[in-house]
């Protein structure tokens, strides 16, 4: 059993390559709960706390490159709160201030829970995920990265280094249903992004399927039936039908947090609310 605390990305990649069974540790807010409750017995750990490269942020033209070890707090109200309103709203709903100071966006991707709060946002923004290994770097679409319940496409020798997405000028928002306002894991969530320049709306759902669901059919129906080049209000018939279609694309299960029926209903309500907020 060892804990590695690499000081640079090349060093971290070398260690990950030589220890394929090691667990990567970012903020620790998921892993430590597993350990504290004896659901996971750690062997080798690679702590990413001191890898500076993972905490960098760059903007090239209209594209943001966000380091994977940046904590939620920086998107909520810190240095990067301005880059995406939806990401900011999603970050605000994660745990408590203490958890948002520690937990990272890369950790959310690594855990890849269907209820991960930043994941519907990254899906709706069509984010690109950078994965590095000693063999080089590859870039995967978020849609190809997320494979299922707590499963993703990261190979054992890879580290999630950054998330890339483009600046979008229209409305974007995140909404979530839980049993209360603070400290809650979502029962159902949705992110809606309106991109007037490309005349489209993207909507992604959390906690209503094995992984995040992009509602491609609802999106296509909406652009066929609405002028999405502006944010002029649209009829109640359109928003209601959009909500019905989004709800139909959800594939929820019943578990200890809620029932499939309620989740299906709830994502429809969230879709309707977000579309109304976008179009006003």
């Amino acid at each position: 059993m060892s804990i590695f605390s690499p000081r640079s990305l090349p060093e971290a990649l070398e260690i990950a390559n030589n220890h394929p069974t090691a667990r990567l540790l970012a903020g620790g807010t998921d892993t430590m709960v597993e350990i504290n409750f004896r659901h996971y017995e750690p062997t080798d750990i690679i702590s990413l706390r001191h890898v500076r490269e993972l905490q960098t942020f760059e903007q090239t033209g209209e594209v943001y490159r966000v380091g994977s070890a940046i904590p939620y707090r920086e998107f909520e109200n810190g240095s990067y709160a301005h880059i995406s309103q939806a990401l900011s709203e999603a970050a605000r709903t994660v745990g408590s201030p203490q958890i948002r100071a520690a937990g990272t966006i890369g950790g959310n991707l690594g855990t890849c829970s269907p209820a991960g709060d930043t994941l519907p946002v990254l899906s709706a923004l069509d984010a690109q995920i950078e994965l590095a290994s000693v063999n080089g770097t590859r870039v995967l679409s978020i849609h190809d990265f997320m494979l299922g319940v707590k499963r993703n496409a990261r190979a054992s020798n890879e580290i999630i280094t950054a998330i890339n997405f483009s600046k979008i000028d229209g409305y974007q928002g995140y909404a979530k249903v839980g049993v209360r306002n603070a400290m809650v894991i979502s029962i159902a969530s949705a992110c809606l992004v309106h991109d007037p320049k490309n005349q489209r709306v993207a909507i992604a759902l959390g906690a209503v399927g094995p992984t995040i669901i992009r509602c491609r059919e609802s999106e296509a129906w909406l652009s066929d039936n609405t002028d999405l080049s502006t944010n002029s209000p649209i009829s109640a018939d359109i928003t209601n039908e959009f909500a019905r279609r989004v709800s139909a694309e959800a594939r929820p299960i019943t578990d200890h947090r809620s029932t499939a029926e309620y989740r299906k209903h709830a994502v429809g309500v969230l879709a309707q609310r977000l579309l109304k907020r976008a179009m006003q």
């Binding site: 059993m1 605390s5 620790g28 504290n36 750990i45 201030p97 203490q98 958890i99 603070a182 400290m183």
Partner: protein
């Protein structure tokens, strides 16, 4: 670099502390209390919900139950013991006593650290900012009213001492 999980050192309240015979999965909360004797941070939920184990790491308020202790090497860890001495409480601790914000006292050290962190980053928070900053700290006795009064008392005392 690799650290043996059995032997490493942590910088707690400005002093290097050697940790011996540790298990890799031990949380910072466990190591502070059981190995190093810092009993200020309290353990209750062990899943980041209650905030009673709040400490500062590099001036960020975090739940020490969710920090792998051996990963906190080369950071500055501040516990409630690092904010004042038992004989001379700081103004936040005194305000908690004055306002009756302490009942059973179990959540108090976490709250003191959270309030300290808030006022270090924002010396005149609004009411909603205070509530937001303390939303990760659960108190089952007070109903929070007296805690908010204590924070307001500190804010007004500090404002007076500046002007």
């Amino acid at each position: 670099m690799s650290t043996s999980p059995e032997m490493y050192s942590l910088r707690v309240n400005g002093t290097e502390q050697h940790v011996k015979d540790a298990w890799i999965g031990e949380s910072l909360l466990y190591v502070l209390r059981e190995r190093l004797g810092f009993m200020g941070a309290k353990g209750a939920c062990e899943q980041g919900e209650c905030g009673s184990c709040t400490v500062l790491i590099n001036n960020d308020a975090v739940c020490s139950c969710l920090v792998m202790a051996a990963s906190a090497i080369d950071t500055d860890i501040t516990t409630v013991e690092g904010l004042a001495t038992t004989e001379t409480p700081n103004d936040i601790q005194q305000a908690f006593v004055t306002e009756g914000a302490v009942q059973c006292g179990f959540c108090t050290p976490g709250l003191i650290v959270a309030v300290h962190h808030l006022l270090e980053t924002n010396s005149s928070p609004s009411e909603i900012e205070v509530k937001e900053a303390l939303s990760g700290n659960i108190c089952r006795c007070t109903g929070y009213g007296r805690i908010f009064s204590a924070v307001q008392l500190v804010i007004s005392q500090r404002e007076k001492s500046v002007s």
